[in-house]
Symmetry: C2
Subunit: 450 residues, 2 copies
Amino acid sequence: MEKRLKDALIAIVGKENFLDSIEDRICYSYDATNQKYLPDAVAFPGSTQEVSGIMKIASRDKIPVIPRGAGTGFTGGSLPVQGGIVMVMTRMNRIIEIDNDNLIAVVEPGVITGKFQKEVARSGLFYPPDPASLEYSTLGGNVAECSGGPRAVKYGVTRDYVLGLEAVLPTGEIIHTGARTMKSVAGYELTRLLVGSEGTLAVITKIILRLIPLPEAVRTMLAIFPEITQAAKTVSEVIRSRIIPSTLEFMDNATIRCVEDYLHMGLPVEAGALLLIEVDGEKEIIEKQVSKIDELCRKGGAERIEIARDEAEQEMLWKARRSISAAIVKLNPTKVNEDIVVPRSKVPDIINALHGIAEKYQLVIVNFGHAGDGNIHVNIMTNRKNKDEMERVEKAVEEIFRTTLNLGGTISGEHGIGITKAPYLKWEVGDTGIEVMKRIKASFDPNNLR
Amino acid sequence: MEKRLKDALIAIVGKENFLDSIEDRICYSYDATNQKYLPDAVAFPGSTQEVSGIMKIASRDKIPVIPRGAGTGFTGGSLPVQGGIVMVMTRMNRIIEIDNDNLIAVVEPGVITGKFQKEVARSGLFYPPDPASLEYSTLGGNVAECSGGPRAVKYGVTRDYVLGLEAVLPTGEIIHTGARTMKSVAGYELTRLLVGSEGTLAVITKIILRLIPLPEAVRTMLAIFPEITQAAKTVSEVIRSRIIPSTLEFMDNATIRCVEDYLHMGLPVEAGALLLIEVDGEKEIIEKQVSKIDELCRKGGAERIEIARDEAEQEMLWKARRSISAAIVKLNPTKVNEDIVVPRSKVPDIINALHGIAEKYQLVIVNFGHAGDGNIHVNIMTNRKNKDEMERVEKAVEEIFRTTLNLGGTISGEHGIGITKAPYLKWEVGDTGIEVMKRIKASFDPNNLR
């Protein structure tokens, strides 16, 4: 990076918040996709004004700026593909306000999601979105990607909790969108347009979040089924009975085997599928719901059902779900991680199709995820160094996406498009959709600097 | 309208679905704002293809097209301000699908909202948004305006229920946005951008709506307070107790007087305010909530509390709320109807300010609305023919908007911007906000037709 530019950036953020040694740049060259692109420099702004200052310089000199939080993304949205400045938002990590009367919070983008949830829980309030990364990932990153998580089946995703934003445009101007209120229809809905735009339209510098009352109690249960289609049908039956659990997760046989191998917690390795079900709300109601779900699981063919009696047992049941990622990498070193969604009733169809695709291309595919909202994490366990296999992986991914779309689904539920899914986006939104999105991009970022 | 163009439109929609006599054009020249702009013709398309055909012709000939539903809007969003073709969507009124397994519905834009709610209720499902116009207004219009209603305090607004759209761009191309699933992050969030865009970006031809289970029971209560600030504080106390009622409506003294004068139902005309409170959910829970709210109302100074024991009594309590619009026009012939929102805790401040403004400008201002979400319908009852008074009305409106924004609120909660609030939009979103919105408009509608 030329000295003039470096000096200008240091003048904005201070010497201690600017990095450009090769070692430091390497640290900010990757995310959870494990792809690497070296930035020219790394800056840590401390305020909206500093973000604006960086954007103005970058816009003038036509240098890409890539905002990022904790870098936990799975699709490469925070990678400096064309170099430029990686702008790390973690210094802007204040919870500015938790407003008990209006049930809102105002935060900076660098606040860790899990920390925020604990903080609002102290006031008896609840911020439901719970991406698996929540102990590390930031609210800014969650908003940029529109993160989901297990609770989406009942509570929706990040977009359902963002009421307003402060953001800096690529040209350095500061905008305020939305409101501190549920209702607001003043002009185009810029807030929700920015949510999920993956940092490509503006840099988020402040977030107004909606909160809800914390549920009084939670009950967790685990049900094991001989066949995966039995589990999938039971999911549909639960919803048909008009119970919306706060979590309805499933693991297929391959996932169960990996987790059992990893944890030795006594899971039956012959089982076709496992459901982790959680309900929350008023005590009396959830007791009734647990009985009803228990009955539906039995009817649906469950061979074993465990209902947690206390928090420790609850934690045990979640342990299986939480260790999946660590457990499955033992199968093969490279995880190609897709994030498809189909309408809930189509889960059996997509699962069958995935088994067929695994067989056809001779691949190890491990499936788990959010059965309640049809969001399935499809993990092709492979080896990056095996060229022949990687070619088959690519073909399998294409077939998975085609099948998903044919079932009325979407190619990304919560991980975003980033760089890894960009080639497939037009399959879902069509050429006209892509054209409209490109024009929207240009209307925010005329220089098209990423 | 020239013959060539008329013939082309008739070729698309058929003779019976095209109007251009002066009498027919007058029928489509107004909405609930009571402003009038004569269109050149009126067309009733019967399919997405027909909408696309009309848009292509209009785009080629640079003729404005104004889509509309039932014309119940309060801000003039469906008025043909520059003439052109009014495109009435009421023929496209099929409920295409109610999907019990996935809790979604797919509808055409011309479906009447109230009719749709009744239809899904038969399957034990619930579509919460309930604009006052719901017996007449269409889902397409509700989506275009992002309608709210009393239930927003608990259930959110129209945008919270729209998962996906089919829409026709001003250039005639058809796009599909969003998905049939809760989770979907494939590209920019065009669905929520189109919701609330008031027909200025695209014509909505199909809507995918999220449904939720119908609450088991509903309880309605009415509380009367000597002072309006007591009522407002009680609203805050209810929320602070972590009860979110499904409805939390208020009427001020002027509204109570009008309604009593109209209905003779025994409302105390000296009362400062009336709260209409409804809770819904499981029977056991709402009984507890009713007792708690009853206690909070008493503590808050309520002088009378009525709790409906059955559906007939419930209907009686709602009658007061529902007859407001008819009742207040007796005060003065012209109603200038604003739709501001402030954070819930600021309701006492805005009410005080509104009283001050009424006095300062010597105007009759009647306030009622959604205390639970801070959305207040401010009605200046005046006479269009009184020029001097209308000038004071204009100044009062400006002061109301300034005060609202100073309290952290928004100038439109559920009525949109349309033509009546357009001059004030920049006060809320700023010059940069307006610029961004103009560029988004251009990216959908390069000819800026309408």
